[in-house]
Symmetry: C2
Subunit: 241 residues, 2 copies
């Protein structure tokens, strides 16, 4: 297959870097492994009807006042006054089944906001890795993986998850990457492949969560293919594809 007929897959390390990629990709895959996009996948796996991602705590609060179930996380912790943050385990509550919930997080909802005008915006994590790759390969469209990072800085776990997507798509022979960020992400994933948790244990955000006693969350978020749900953004709401 010639380079012209193959599709392109690239990795953008941070929301602020997205401007450079914005025009060239029909599909944006938003990644925030620890923990927003993992929590979103877990929520749909557990029967949530929709998730409204909002960038600010104020907006989340407005929804809460209207009677919505609303979650807010900043710097790894639940914001005071809210009932839940971005722990995937919060969303396994049977009360959430069939509900429309509202969520704001430090990094993940920001990257959803940055990507919102793309043709197709999907949510990925290690949890739905194979499912999302299998769906993407069927589409005649170029794809950019948008890592949420940590306060707009590079982070290891999102990059490795993006690298796993690049690895899987390029292995089909139908995709190519040209950006150094994508090549690096793929190499980092290949180094990490045998033990996600082992590689990421040195990551700064993992240390941050460990201090907050969130090891169980981290372990869950780094375990691939626990669900086949693919959350997609439709009219400002995340729903199941």
């Amino acid at each position: 297959m010639s380079i012209e007929t193959r599709k392109r897959v690239e990795v953008c390390f941070t929301p602020s870097g997205y401007e450079y990629f914005k025009k060239d990709f029909e599909i944006v895959v938003v990644i925030d492994v620890l923990r927003a996009t993992s929590a979103i996948c877990a929520a749909f796996e557990n029967g949530v009807n929709s998730i409204i991602p909002v960038p600010s705590i104020e907006e989340a609060w407005e929804y809460k006042k209207k009677g919505f179930l609303a979650g807010a996380e900043r710097k790894g912790q639940i914001v005071e006054g809210f009932d839940f943050g971005n722990s995937p385990f919060s969303y396994m509550n049977p009360e959430f089944k069939g509900k429309d919930i509202v969520l704001t997080t430090t990094n993940g909802t920001k990257s959803l906001d940055v990507a919102k005008d793309a043709e197709i915006v999907l949510v990925a994590s290690f949890l739905n890795l194979n499912a999302i790759c299998q769906w993407i390969v069927e589409q005649p469209k170029d794809v950019v993986c948008l890592c949420s990072g940590w306060q707009d800085n590079f982070n290891l776990e999102d990059t490795i998850c993006a690298g796993a997507i690049v690895d899987q798509l390029t292995n089909t022979g139908n995709y190519y990457s040209t950006e150094d960020s994508s090549i690096a992400a793929k190499y980092l994933f290949q180094s990490a492949k045998k033990s996600h948790l082992g590689f990421i244990k040195s990551s700064s955000h993992r240390r941050r969560l460990k201090k907050l006693n969130l090891n169980k969350d981290v372990h869950y978020c780094l375990t691939p293919n626990q669900t086949s749900v693919i959350p997609i953004l439709k009219n400002g709401k995340l729903v199941k594809l």
Copy 2:
């Protein structure tokens, strides 16, 4: 040695990311492997007296009118009207010995400009890798490696060179890193260690230079430890330490 008495070494992927690191590091090591900082090392190895890095072509031109030897490179090529760009081989000309020269390049001089207010600003490339690490370990100071990138995007060769510095410093047991960018750079260097050229052959900038028939330059720039010079910024001029 406890973490408190060890020194810190980190990697910043792009000039625009430097703001985040700015306050915490006494030493900034500026890296632009292909080719500005490699050319600067080659120039000092070949007896140049000083190099005045300027961010714009206009400033370089002003110096040229005053009789300076002035070089300018944009997008890998020599700017029209200038005698040289950033090929290391240009600086091996015997006419350059003992001279003060002026240089502006796409990425490298920009990162020198961004870093200029730090206590100590050094210039590194693969060419002076061991020399610069040996000097740094003697200093009781924290160090950040500032990659020039490509038009403010992540690039592979600068990151791998920075990773080589992190690897060498942390191997002494006297340094630690906390940022994910530094951990990733070190892993990428370790993957690339056996063959710099092999790993970087997929890099986007290398492909760009290959199109411009600059393979000889690339090979030279990726060969470690060809010189022991350490260029340092003093009052706006690069001189030999």
